[in-house]
Amino acid sequence: MQFAFTEEQAMIAETARAFFAGNATSERTRRAMEGDGIDRDLWASFCTELGLAGIAVPEAHGGSGLGLVEFATIAEAAGAQVAALPLLGLAMPARAIAAGGSEAQKREWLPKLASGEVIAAPGGSHDQRVGDGKLTGTVDFVPHGGIADMFVLASPEGAWIVRADAPGLAIERPVTMDQTRPLARVTLTDTPGDPLPDWQAGLEAARAGGWICVAAEALGGAQATLDRTVGYAQERVQFGRPIGSFQAYKHRLADMMVEIEQARSAVYWAACAVDEDSAEAPLALHSAKSFAADTYCRCAGDMIQLHGGIGFTWEHDAHLFFKRARAIRSMLGDSDWHREQVANIIGLGEAA
C-alpha cells in the first residue's frame, strides 16, 4: 500500500500543472469560448510539445500506455484552468477503441488520436436504430461534438465509430451554458458506422475514463476556486480587516478544504482501483463522480458568494468554474444516479 504518487507520477502532475497554468490562461479560454469552444493552439501544444494526448493509448499504438492515475493528474490540471480542450475524446473514445476495437480499428485510429491529428467525441443514446451497418437516430449533448472529426456512439445494443463527414450525418451547435465544452446534437440518417467488436468492454473502459476525467477536472477546479478565494480573502479589506479574518468567512473556506480533500481521496481511489482492476472499482467510480461533482458545485458557488459583487461579473473567472461545475454534475450520470448505483452495490435492494 502506498497511496501517494510515485516520483514519475508526481513529475507528470507537476508538468501538467505548469503547462496548463502557463498556457490555458483566462484570456485564451475566453477566446475559445467566443469561437467554437476549443483552444486549438493549446490542443496542438498539449499533443505535441507535452506529448500527453497519448496517455490513454497503448504504447503499441503510439501512446504512452499509462494508467488512469496519470490521466487524472492531467485532467485535474486542465480542470484547474477550465481549459477549453476535448479531453473527453481521449478519456472515452480512445479508451473504448483500445479496449473494445478490432486490430484494424486500433491501427487506424489510435495513433491519430494520440498525436492529436484527430479529435474524437463520445456520445450515447437509447433511440438508435441499426440496419445494414447504418445508424439512424439522434444523439444529444455530445461534448465538443461540433468540432470532432469522429465519434464513438453507444446505445444499449452496441457501439460504433462514426466519421463526422459520413453521409447522412448532421450536426447542430446550440449555445451551451458552459462555453468551454459546448454540447452538440448529432443526427444520423442511414449513416454508416463501424461497430466495435467487443463493445461492452469498450463501453466499460469509456465510462471509467469519462467518470475519472470529469471527477478529476472537478477536483482541480474545486481546488482552484479555493486557492483563488483564499488569495482574495487576504487582500480584500472591509471594516478595517482582511475579510479572511472574519470567522464566518474563514469557516466556509475550511469547509471547502474538507470537501476537497475528500474529493481528492475519491478521485485517486477510483483511478487506482481501475488501474489495479480491483473489485472496488465500480463503487469507487460512482463515489468519485458524485462526490467530486458535488464538491465542485459547492466550492464554485461559494467562490461567487465569497467574492461579493465582482464574483457575479462576466469579467471575473468565477463563472467559468461555476458553469463547468454545473455541467459536470449533469453529464455522464448525475450525482443522484451515481449514488443510486452505490445503493445497489451495497445491497439496499430495489428502490420504491
Partner: protein, 394 residues
C-alpha cells in the same frame, strides 16, 4: 500509487484476524460488541491486559517498550481487523494514543522505562486532564495551579478539571497546570503525570445526555506527584500538550472507522428490515454515508502514505471535522431510518440499543478533541494561512 497490500502484510492481516476471532469467540466472548466505555469495566481492563500479554496493544511502538515495531501498513491492518472482529472500544486509548506518544516524544529515558511498558501491557490506564470549567476551547487559560514543595521536591497541585473521561477507572492522569504565578495563556504551563489514587484527588462522575457517566469532575486539593513526573521543563507544558503529531490521528481514526462501519451496517440492516431501504431519499443518504466512510479510509491512507511526517500534510488537519461531522449525520440518519421505534427502549432502564445510542453519543463527536468551530479555525489558519482569530485581553 498502489492500494493493494503486500503478501507479507496480508499474512500479518490473517494472523491478527485469527487471533482476534479466537478471543472474541472464546475467552472474551462476553465483551464482543459491547458499547459504552464504562460498561463491564473490569472485563474491559482484563481485555487490555490480554492484548498487552500478546503484544497486540501498541504494535507501532518500539519492541523494547512493549510494541512490535510495526510498520504503518501493519498498524492500519491491525486497526481494521480489530474493529472487524467486534472487539470492544479500548479503555486504554488515552494512554495508548495520548500519554504514550507524548512520553515517547518528550519524556526522559527514565520516564519511558517507567511508564511505557505499563501502558503497553494494559496494566496501567490513563486519563486526560486538560479541560476546566473555564478553559475548554480556550485551553490555554487553565487555572489549576502547580507548585514545587521545597521540602520534598514534589509537585503540589490545586484546582479542578472537568469532563475527564474514564477518570473513575484509570490509574494515572496527565494534567496541564499553571506553574508560574501571574502568567497568561500558553506561557507558564507545566505538564505533569499524576497517580490518581491519592488523598488529594476526588473524582465525581457527571451524568451525560445518554444516561451514562463516562466523564467526571476531577478535584485537586494538595494532590502530589514526584519531581521526576514532570514532562519536559516547567513552563513548557503547552508545547507538550500540543505536540502530538497529526499523523497519529490518522492511525487511530482508521480503527475508529471500522467501528463506524459496524454502525453503518446496522443502519443498512435496519433499513432493509423496516422497508425504508426502498425510500429513494433514505437510499441517497445511506449511499452518501457509505461514500463518506470510504473516503475517510482512503483519506487516512493518503495521510499515512505521506512519508514526510515532519511536515504533516494539510489534509491531516481536516480529519477531525470530517469524521465528527460524518458520524453526527449518521446518528441522525439512524433515527430517520428507525422512526418512532427509535424513541422507546425495550426494558425499564434508560438504556437504548446501538442506533438510538449512536444518535445521542454522536453529539459529543463535534465537541470533544476540539469543537467543529475550533477545528475550522485550525484548518483555516494553519492549512490555508488565513489571519488568526483576534484574541481578547482578559
Amino acid at each position: 500509487m498502489r492500494l493493494g497490500f503486500s503478501a507479507g502484510d496480508e499474512a500479518f492481516r490473517a494472523e491478527a484476524a485469527d487471533w482476534l476471532a479466537d478471543q472474541m469467540s472464546g475467552e472474551f466472548r462476553d465483551i464482543k460488541d459491547v458499547l459504552g466505555l464504562t460498561v463491564m469495566a473490569e472485563r474491559r481492563k482484563e481485555w487490555e491486559q490480554q492484548l498487552g500479554r500478546h503484544r497486540w496493544s501498541c504494535i507501532g511502538w518500539p519492541s523494547k517498550w512493549g510494541g512490535r515495531d510495526a510498520t504503518l501498513e501493519q498498524q492500519v491492518i491491525f486497526a481494521e481487523e480489530y474493529a472487524r472482529s467486534g472487539a470492544p472500544g479500548r479503555v486504554g486509548h488515552m494512554g495508548i494514543e495520548l500519554a504514550g506518544p507524548t512520553i515517547l516524544a518528550f519524556g526522559t529515558e527514565e520516564q519511558k522505562a517507567r511508564f511505557l511498558p505499563g501502558i503497553a501491557s494494559g496494566e496501567v490506564l490513563w486519563c486526560q486532564g486538560y479541560s476546566e470549567p473555564n478553559a475548554g476551547s480556550d485551553l490555554a487559560s487553565v487555572r489549576t495551579r502547580a507548585r514545587v514543595d521545597e521540602a520534598t521536591g514534589e509537585w503540589v497541585v490545586d484546582g479542578q478539571k472537568i469532563w475527564t473521561s474514564l477518570a473513575q477507572i484509570c490509574d494515572w492522569i496527565f494534567v496541564v497546570t499553571r506553574s508560574e504565578e501571574g502568567s497568561k495563556g500558553p506561557k507558564g504551563l507545566t505538564f505533569l503525570l499524576m497517580p490518581i489514587d491519592q488523598p488529594g484527588i476526588t473524582i465525581r462522575p457527571i451524568r451525560q445526555i445518554n444516561g451514562d457517566a463516562e466523564f467526571n469532575e476531577t478535584f485537586f486539593d494538595g494532590a502530589r506527584t514526584a519531581a521526576e513526573n514532570l514532562v519536559s521543563t516547567p513552563g513548557n507544558g503547552w508545547q507538550v500538550a500540543m505536540g502530538l503529531l497529526a499523523f497519529e490521528r490518522g492511525v487511530s481514526t482508521l480503527g475508529q472507522q471500522m467501528g463506524f462501519r459496524h454502525e453503518l451496517d446496522a443502519i443498512i440492516a435496519a433499513a432493509k428490515a423496516n422497508g425504508s431501504a426502498s425510500n429513494p431519499l433514505i437510499r441517497q443518504r445511506i449511499a452518501k454515508a457509505e461514500i463518506g466512510l470510504r473516503l475517510m479510509r482512503y483519506g487516512a491512507l493518503r495521510v499515512l502514505s505521506n512519508t514526510d511526517h515532519a511536515r504533516p500534510d494539510g489534509a491531516a488537519l481536516t480529519y477531525k471535522l470530517q469524521w465528527a461531522t460524518w458520524r453526527r449525520n449518521l446518528g441522525e440518519l439512524a433515527m430517520d431510518v428507525l422512526g418512532q421505534a427509535g424513541e422507546v427502549t425495550a426494558g425499564p432502564d434508560y438504556d437504548f440499543p446501538m442506533l438510538p445510542s449512536l444518535f445521542l453519543s454522536s453529539r459529543a463527536d463535534t465537541i470533544y478533541g476540539g469543537t467543529n468551530q475550533i477545528q475550522r479555525n485550525i484548518v483555516a489558519e494553519r492549512a490555508l494561512g488565513l489571519p488568526r482569530e483576534p484574541r481578547g485581553n482578559a
